[in-house]
Amino acid sequence: MTQRGFAEVVAVAEHVAGQSRAANALGLTSEQSTGADPLVQLADDDAAEPAVATRFVEIRTWANERLGWDHVPAFWRAIARRPRYLAAAWEKTKLVFGPGEIDGLTKFAVALACASLAGNRYFVEYYQAGFRQFGFEDETVVELAGLVNHYASFNTVAHAFQLESPGETTFAESADDGAATESRPD
């Protein structure tokens, strides 16, 4: 992995961490109507304000392609109450999930893991929809959940025992060199 690839992974992680906390603050629990009601009024899919309407067209297209949802997801409709926030958050989403050294599947896997760590049901559902768009079914979702289980468990042990880092991490010169990080304990 290159330094740029590492930065892309961290960018997805921090972006989803922030989104998930915001969704918690807004009371978003599910894209379906089965969850509790959001704590803010959601803008209509066909928003009247031009700056919002333009973003909603892009978001609906993206959601259809990447999540398999044919509507503007509730999160974006909620934050549309603050159009500058909507614009900045959407532009950042396009950037961090856009083309780079890390493939789209890996970015959605990271996003799903980070939404689960942040404890937000809404974005777990959102990014799990994106993850499944790569053709994965329950077995692979559980495979990913098992990895979250493993890493979160070992993080807890390492933190509790105050274990020191086993060494410097080295990065590949180019993306073609593959995942050339140090050997990690399992």
């Binding site: 495979e143 468990s153 025992f161």
Partner: protein, 85 residues
Amino acid sequence: MTTLPLPDPHDTTGRTREALELAARRGGLPLENVSAIHRAMSHWPEWLEANLAQTAATFKGQGQLSALTRECLHIAISASNNCRF
């Protein structure tokens, strides 16, 4: 400094030694190089054994996610959990 001293694998006996030897074999390492996290867990060998079994079924298990995706999950989850290790 660690919270508890990490046992030297060569000084251990009985079930602790067996669990550390299993961790070393699973990692393809000589006993003296078994990882700090496994040495930490060896304070309760049954716990280390349970985690080795879970690791075999998750991290080391067969699946559809690539090594790169798994490594990226490792980075993102460890960063989210403020884990320097």
